[in-house]
């Protein structure tokens, strides 16, 4: 036997004695239980309950018997003004998403192509920082800029003292502006993540093949940023459609959206079944839009998205 050069330590590690081992599924289940149990109680059961509520004729309180009904899902037929509100909400959602996409894509492009190193890192943090501040406070801060006699007017009057007010608080553009401000950092981040991986060599290769900047933008950069744009659009459109605080603060009386109507059903009108039905209708519309959108996207990019 060859000579040992090392002293021989105690032969076997301590675990050897511990014969009782729990089955592996047990520890896995124990690790997963808190998270999924919590989500069950706080998210999934509530959503199921609300779905059940949406089929009731009235909020189940007091002694009145509760009857199954589909009437709340017919609200768009019986209360035609809801169609107009839903349309307005969609228009606000589309405008916000579109503006975020355009502004965000170019900001991400500028960040990825025109900055580097420490400056880029700092800029990225600066862009994302407002996003982590309270959304309510940021929306509120716009009222100080947009109101009559607000910062915008002060700025204008310092250049042209006799001018009237250009403040546009309590209008639909104000709502869109506030929402764009809120969701732009999302879009910049998702586009940046997609664009930053683009190799210089790809653009140089395109240039060497005689591509102009317009061709590079539309044939190289935009397709490569598409996953980021899609993610950003989803992350913007979904919460915007459900927003109620922004329209109320920035829109005043014109700020009536699906979000505020639903909120009213729960806090003012106390018609929970109608609110629930409207919520699920909204969810269905969102899903339908994305299904269409992703179908179109898949066809146009050959199954890439």
């Amino acid at each position: 036997m060859p000579a040992d050069t090392l002293a021989r330590p105690a032969a076997s590690p301590p675990g050897a004695a511990a014969g009782h081992r729990l089955p592996s599924w047990f520890s896995t289940a124990a690790l997963l239980l808190p998270t999924y149990g919590w989500l069950l109680i706080a998210i999934f059961l509530p959503l199921c309950t609300m779905l059940a509520f949406s089929f009731m004729n009235a909020t189940p309180m007091g002694r009145a018997p509760v009857v199954f009904t589909l009437k709340h899902y017919k609200a768009f037929v019986t209360q035609p003004y809801l169609v107009g509100i839903a349309w307005d909400s969609l228009v606000i959602g589309f405008w916000t998403t579109f503006l975020c996409a355009v502004l965000g894509f170019f900001a991400a492009l500028a960040l990825a192509r025109a900055t580097a190193g420490r400056a880029r890192e700092t800029l990225l943090i600066l862009i994302l920082l407002p996003f982590w501040t309270n959304g309510l406070v940021r929306v509120f801060s716009w009222t100080m800029v947009l109101r009559e006699g607000g910062f915008l007017d002060v700025l204008l009057h310092s250049v042209w003292p006799g001018a009237g007010s250009i403040g546009f608080l309590y209008t639909r553009p104000a709502i869109v502006l506030g929402l764009v401000h809120g969701y732009l950092p999302y879009m910049i981040l998702t586009c940046y993540i997609a664009l930053v991986t683009i190799d210089d060599a790809i653009i140089e290769a395109a240039q060497s093949l005689g591509a102009r900047w317009w061709t590079i933008l539309t044939r190289v950069l935009l397709p490569m940023a598409l996953p980021g744009l899609t993610t950003g659009a989803i992350l913007t459109f979904v919460p915007v459609i459900g927003s109620f605080m922004e329209p109320r603060i920035l829109g005043g009386r014109v700020g009536v959206t699906m979000g505020t109507v639903i909120e009213d059903q729960f806090t003012q009108a106390f018609n929970w079944p109608l609110g629930a039905a409207l919520s699920f209708t909204m969810l269905a519309v969102i899903l339908a839009i994305f299904a269409t959108f992703s179908g179109v996207l898949r066809r146009s990019t050959g199954g890439m998205a």
């Binding site: 919590w38 706080a42 998210i43 509520f53 509120f140 969810l283």
Partner: protein, 259 residues
Amino acid sequence: MTALARFYLLAILVFLYLPIVVMMAMGFNESALYELPFRFSTRWYEALSGNGQLISAGVNSVVIALITAVIATLAGTMAAVALDRHAVRGRTLLQLLLLPPIAIPWLITGTAMLVFFFWTGIGRGMHALLIGHVALAIPYVVLVVGTGLKTIRSDLEEAAVSLGSTPLHAFFAVTLPLLAPSILGAALFAFAVSLDQFVISYFLSTPGFATLPVQIYSAIRKGFTPEINAISTILLLGSMSVIVVFAIFARPGGSRDKR
């Protein structure tokens, strides 16, 4: 081209920060009606110190954010470890189930919680808010910690086990120290999510128990005073400093290995 790009980035930054800066400045303006010219004053901060409602709402916010961060980080880290390191049946489904809290509009989640909590007798108030906030924060924790786990090669744990560690000891001796920056980042994330949360809190608050955003919202709706600017400024600076700390800690490689 580069100059144009940089100018554009500057314009974006101005757009992002303009209202915030204006609001902060107004918090130091003497006039209650936001009148100009600007006259520096700290009277609104002084008024704030006497506003018990806002202060207790602020305390509520911080307490809830702290508890949320602890619970969500613990639960989310456990789930992330199980999803990344264990053989889990239906992993894809479990990962998909993390999306609704993020992807469904908060308005719908919030009202659904209101309905369910009312119907089951859980009711509203601090405990209801906690249930809601933790549920919203957990998916982020799972994502952040899960990303961190992917950067830690599983053969490090295997090496520890081959040297005589039980899987549990391997986790605490090897994985956890390496995962600590991610866990800290996830905790800050959860804290920020909770502190920023308005919609869910709005539906689950009671007249006696509200968080700061809820209190601010009702103040704005009633007709605000510059006190709101003052407390908002404090809130903004607070969450900004949390994020700056996060950015420093969560940078890949961390400062620990700088030496």
